[in-house]
């Protein structure tokens, strides 16, 4: 995939000096990738995810125009404004189907989707399930902070029981969603978990998700310092917690083992839980197209349509 992303566009505007044949564009610098200054609160875990996205683009020499960054609604979903690339700030919960529209119609682009737990597991829960099962080629990073931050502290679908929010003054009563279990059960083909306080691990997971030919899902714990301070201290060695990687002997193709791993008590494990190489929806649709186009080989579009009209005379 990285090669496709780095491809130089075939058509260059004549008014701009085209690169000499064979000349390589230099990789982008962080300065060239960064756009607006993030609007997040100081100390927010999302800064780390953004910095590592820049690092990924730098490291893999991805050009601005070869990626599209899509988000829904939420604090983390402000992401596209901070990236110098074609971006989309869509509606709440529906970033995945939007991104699917891009992915399926533009095989030359790589689509990254960023969002929060409300977007992914509450209002967009249906889309999470179906994008997973359809195995659409795109990378989805969910910055999970266990709380609604943008609307100022309401219970989220991942808030643990007992969490005191403005909508659960006495503590949350509903059982939270386990994103890893949800993804595995829905048929996601790449399921990983990381935490924003471990930058190297975030980068490794994002890169592995990007390189996965299919729906690459990464849950990244990302602390909301304003409304859920200390939520993830137990996973942060600097705060006295433990960062436990997925055991080396874990077989990532073993769905049951992955599901079991996902059931571990917080802070649980970090790393790739599950991965398989089922063909993507993109590949399957392309195969259907190839088969159908073979039957009308050599015909112009209007002639294909004419064949239908001839049958209706």
């Amino acid at each position: 995939m990285s090669e496709a992303i780095a491809e130089i566009p075939a058509r260059e505007n004549a008014s701009l000096a085209p690169p000499a044949p064979g000349a390589e564009r230099k990789g982008l610098t962080k300065k060239e990738i960064a756009a607006d200054h993030p609007t997040w609160c100081p100390g927010c875990g999302d800064f780390s995810v953004l910095a590592l996205y820049f690092k990924l683009i730098e490291k893999r020499k991805i050009w601005h125009e070869k990626i599209t960054t899509v988000a829904g609604i939420g604090c983390s979903s402000r992401f596209p404004y901070f990236v110098q690339a074609h971006g989309v700030h869509y509606i709440h919960g529906r970033a995945l189907p939007f991104a699917t529209g891009i992915s399926l119609s533009r095989p030359d682009l790589h689509v990254f989707v960023f969002g929060g737990d409300g977007d992914a597991f509450s209002i967009g829960g249906n889309h999470f399930t179906h994008t997973s099962r359809k195995n659409v080629k795109l990378t989805y990073v969910v910055m999970d902070n266990w709380v609604y931050g943008l609307t100022k502290k309401q219970t989220s679908p991942t808030s643990p029981v007992g969490f005191k929010s403005k909508t659960d003054q006495w503590g949350a009563v509903d059982y939270p969603i386990n994103p890893m279990k949800q993804a595995i059960a829905a048929g996601a083909t790449f399921v990983a978990r990381t935490t924003s306080t471990n930058p190297n691990h975030v980068l490794a997971m994002m890169e592995a998700a990007m390189d996965h030919d299919g729906f690459g899902f990464v849950e990244c714990l990302s602390e909301c310092v304003e409304f859920y301070e200390g939520a993830f201290d137990a996973a942060n060695p600097r705060k006295g917690g433990v960062f436990k990687e997925v055991p080396k002997e874990h077989d990532v193709t073993d769905e049951l083992a992955a599901y079991k791993l996902a059931g571990a008590d917080f802070p649980g494990y970090f790393g790739i839980f599950y991965k398989n190489n089922k063909p993507t929806k993109n590949a399957k649709e392309a195969e259907i197209q190839r088969g159908m186009m073979e039957k009308v080989k050599g015909l112009k579009d209007w002639q294909i349509l004419q064949k239908n009209f001839d049958k209706m005379k």
Binding site: H89, L104, S105, N126, Q289, D301
Partner: protein
Amino acid sequence: MSDTIATASPSGGAPKVSKINEAVIRIAGNSQDGIQAIGGFLARLAGRSEQEVMTFMTIPATISGGPSIFQVRIGSGEVLSAGDEADVLLALYQHSYEDHIGSLKKGGIVLFDADHVEPKPEWQKDYHHVGIPLSTLAVEAIGGTAKDKGKNIYALGLIARMFDLNVPKLEKLISERFGGKDESIVKNALVAFHAGYAYNTGNLLETFKFTEGPGKGGHQVVMNGNEALGYGLIAAGVRFGAGYPITPWSDIMELLRRELPKYGGTFVQCEDEIASISMAVGASYAGRVAVTGSSGPGISLKSEALGWAVMAEVPLVIVDVQRGGPSTGLPTSVEQSDLNIARFGSHGDSPRVVLAPANVEDCFYTAIEAVNIARKYNVPVFILSDQAIATRIEAFPEPNLEKLCQDISPDLTTVPDFKPYDLTTPDGVVPRVVPGTRIASGKYPVATGLEHDEAGHPTAAPKMHQAMVAKRRRKLLALQATVPVPKVYGPPEGNVLLVGWGSTQGPIREAVDRARGAGDSISSLHIKHLNPLPNGLDNIFSGFHHVFVVEMNDEGLYGYGQLGGLLRARFCDPRIRGINKTDGLTWKVKEILAAVKMKLSSNGGAAKTV
């Protein structure tokens, strides 16, 4: 039919042969009797014979069984509606006979399956009854267990004999329809057809022969509105669509799913209506105008995403095949009650374009127009079709596909710089630069639902919101300036002007013809561009004493329906009043005329609402 019959004198004991120039045939049975197939054959035959044709069908909302009808009106002259009354009723069951005898004109012929129907003595004097043991004869003809399958084709043979239809053309149609399957199926179908055709017509009271119509030259194609709309989208260059199944929209998504891969395109069946519009907007954003669609309830679900497309200025085509509402309503009946949601649905000030095709042919061309408006103005465009137009079959001159088919692939040529929401263009329109395009300045745009500045960055500055709202409005004003003023059908001045939109054009025009024939001063106007409305309508209205807006929706609290409301708001003209109905059926010509008469005689409605 009777008004137009030039009767030939009956010769001896043989049945009378009457020359006719049109006929309405209603076939009533159950949904699994294949009566749609008979109707389809008759419609296609008319198309191949340079005749005009229009059909009307009802299907039950249940999966299997249930009463169903198919009505075909075939004519050598212009056919504008499916016909108020049938000349011939073919009734397969007792319920078909009892429920539909009322749709037969007095003196009309009822052909009934004597195996299933017990004719009523009291109806014998009003209608010519012809009983034929269809079920038994079909079994005799093709034998075995296929009796229910062959009955429809046997009946087609009878009708062919009765109307002296072109046998070789029908044989060819039957072979085409059943060809490709087991050869014995075609053979059986032809045997059943010929057995029906050979049935001794001695006891049929008369047979008919169509007069030659004016030759039209060129080929006709025969299809229903959903097919015309789907193929129109393909001709327009649409290569991506997304949808969720709902009646009567589903046919279009099935067609696109089947056809688009041939062109390198894709149609995705999504998990829900919201995903469908989101995926289509995503694909549109990625470069080529995409389509989503639904019917009533599904459109409601799409309205948040529609608002985003307006705000982000991403083109999109949304098809709404209207049905009776609200809620699940009447899934297989017709209504024009989604104009308000198409026009106003969603939140905030969200200008969008609304078009309504007037007939099946117009479905094809409206699809192309919708795509081109969406592309040019970067705005969502609604196509308001309806259940009646979706399922009815018409013949129309074959479009020049070589000329009409267009390529709307995005241009990915590098641009020096790009401001997606540039405020300096006079008409508010900024050509899009889609993902995959390199922008030499290194500044990349964000397509956003937040109010934004010219570069697409969020801002809540009061002046900026005002300027952007105005920009989105200006685009539609620019479009409005290009919308043609619709032509008045009939004289441009007179007593009554009937105003319609969408699938009602045919019956409204036929009502005008009939009333003018009787000496009334009446004309009609059909509005296809419902938002923005064409300029110049007030000038047209001023030529008439009464303006009645004929719609298949409720007259509301103030005596006019949804288009009536829009026109009243636009022109503040108290002459605008409504002629409305909500029975889930298409307009009959006589219903329109009766309503006009009532409005004119009472005139109370006008006084109340002035």
